[in-house]
Symmetry: C4
Subunit: 255 residues, 4 copies
């Protein structure tokens, strides 16, 4: 295997699409959001690229006994009455600093190939506590982009995200900007303790405003209810035992 | 030393051989299994390749005062009344993510060189507790392979192995598939606490069904008895002291 | 992104300038010092180079919602009645051993490009306890440099810094020397517990002696007062609770 | 800086020299031994090579205020009535797996350049407790070398060193063997808790038998006495406080 191998699985004609990234991160917000998009827009979408790399963890996932090598998938979506999309999803991020740079450049190469000049990185910003209201915090590669995003309900806050944005989401902003893309990162507030379907919904509702597609949220809402039950039970246990609030690691099976 | 150095120690004519991998992993199941094969089939086998690499830990093993540089060995076995074999064994895995990809490609190169198009990776799947019955769980690179394996007693389970398969075993499936091999991973259930000769035996019995060779198990059974004595003693100590069940690290001398 | 990308943002004519480095380190002394220089000499200075690299952490910083990719900046300063300067500042060091060597060579390349043959690395040397007097300890690439520095108040101590000098500051001495530069490292004593504006001031006062520029210190003194208040409060808490003196990590927000 | 830079500091004519390596390791036995050789044979020796590398930690050591970039030094020694020597010493090992392979090959390159075909790696083998008798345990690259070493008092033990030999010492055996050298590792028994001049002396006395030079041991014996005083004091403290025996880390200042 080379450092990067991009499989052209199929082709698609898109008109000025937007690359939307949802790799695993805080609260899995970005991943839940993009996976939901892929599910909801399945009728109009085509898997176009699979990206394999030595920068990914050396492993296969196994489903019903059949193995699949770690990769990132890109789906092309022709959206009626909305912007065309390139949806980027996967189960793993790169495993080294250099790997993040290499993979982000690969994603932007595919975006350019399909004529995209805009990038949205989706993720979560941790609040440290369970919340009821879900704001969407933004970061953009150029100041001129702020107004449009604020109109769509995105909040630009003075000291957030503290510590900047790390990993592929951050580099899509940083390298995207250097390569002439308009890049933005939308981060749903989330506790940081759980996989958070409600935060993913908040981010998607903002995207609906910005990109024109329309979504149903039934399956995400179902997952949110399951999560709430589980969190409720854990909080009970917590009170009985004086435990710390469990971290996202403890709750990995849940969601 | 280059990144990879493959020493051709000897040559052998094989007919459509199967590559069988047994590097160290969970419970050392794969390693015990392949080392046992090498021992039992010594009469029909030739050491053909030694693979050295900067990806291996920088060390030598010492036996009776004589040093040997870390490497992986491949033995060619001409089996009467059974499939020909390429047996891959060693004491160490690669030490970096990239290293796993590089070494797995090197193993598949040697397999291709000898005309192999099938790969078996052997390992263990941890149950978290000492067990009496030893199922063999499977993963394959293509769905079409399942029936034959199920007939041989391999179980394909919906949620196992959780977290997929990591390291060379996983990549033999992933990269093997991309390079046109039929690849399978057979994992003997094992506690994960001890080096497990019984689990190795379960995996080998499955391989006998699939590949046609016949084995004696005396030496493996002896090791299993030794392990049981030791485990018994530790469980006694445990009850006396309220210790946790020891991990595989604690028991490294044993086996 | 290549391993290194040097953006020529602007040009400037300098006469035998001195490269002065202030990347983050012990007590952030070097960084505070150089950032103060950039602030105070803003009238005479031009941002000439931005250095991006895969060796930097893969992240963007976000200020008022706008992202900026990790980089190191070099400002050219034409100082009246003093030595011309190349001021090197940034928020991050390289993330790997090799990265430090690569980036230091890049900084020296820029220095050569502007005709510099002298390098000052600024930093802190930890004392392990809060102090009142701030000596400036020195290290030079060649013995012949000691006298001039001692005249300016720099102390050369027999056993300090213990363990040598690590990171870009150390390599500016080591690689600088190999490339024909006169290199020196000035380290202000600091507790190691806090970001230390007083230590930065001590280092700057020494530089004033050596390089001829003149500085005001109002903003640094203000920060020093804020720090003292905070430290005072923490010492009170400490006495009440019997806590250890907080480390620099605990006080990261402060400064 | 390239991955490797070998400075030819001076030249020397040697007759079939032996490369003797003493980089830091267990108990600093190898380093103490080679540094003692360099000190004792100063009259007949010339510093011939300095090896710099990106594989070394990015730092400079500072002595009396003057910096020196991390490197390995090789001294050529013309020994009257004994084998000629190439003495390899330094303060640091490589910082990555690959780095160990790269540096060991560089050391062997220099050895070949001076006509050497034999290598001695010196080190310590930890016993886990303070000892009075100091055996020297051996490992060789070829069985035929054992007799000569046993005659000189080296012990070849069945299960030692457990876990093999790691780092440059191990690779001098492993890569040395592949490149046609006769390679041996001599390891003085040592507790593993302290820098151990007595162990270094035991190894040097064995070398005297094997290589013909004659040494005085006054300075090493002095250091051994200092260590014993310190260890005595620590054992007293230990008894008073019920402390664990301090590790080598705790005693780094001592020696």
């Amino acid at each position: 295997m080379d450092q990067l191998e991009v499989d052209a699985v199929a082709e698609a004609e898109l008109d000025d699409p937007v690359l939307v990234e949802g790799l695993p991160g805080v609260g899995h917000v970005g991943k839940l959001a993009v996976d939901h998009l892929i599910e909801e827009l399945a009728g109009e979408s085509t898997l176009v690229r699979r990206i394999y790399s030595r920068e990914f963890p050396p492993q296969v996932s196994v489903e019903d006994g059949v193995s699949e090598l770690t990769c990132t998938e890109i789906h092309a979506v022709s959206v009626e009455d909305g912007r065309d999309l390139l949806l980027l999803t996967g189960d793993h991020q790169a495993q080294s600093n250099e790997g993040h740079y290499v993979l982000t450049d690969a994603f932007l190469d595919v975006a350019e190939e399909f004529g995209a000049s805009e990038v949205f990185a989706l993720g979560g910003v941790p609040t440290g506590e369970l919340i009821d209201e879900y704001a969407v915090v933004g970061a953009v590669s150029d100041e001129s982009m702020c107004d449009e995003f604020e109109d769509a309900g995105v909040e630009f806050r003075e000291d957030e995200p503290a510590g900047g944005i790390v990993g592929v989401s951050g580099l899509l902003l940083g390298l995207g900007d250097r390569r002439g893309f308009d890049a933005a990162c939308l981060m749903g507030e989330t506790s940081g303790y759980i996989v958070d379907p409600k935060s993913a919904r908040a981010v998607l509702e903002t995207l609906e405003e910005l990109l024109g597609f329309e979504l149903e949220y039934d399956s995400l809402d179902e997952r949110a209810e399951e999560m709430e039950e589980v969190v409720g039970k854990i909080q009970e246990m917590e009170q009985q035992q004086g435990m710390d609030v469990p971290t996202d690691d403890d709750l990995r099976y849940i969601g």
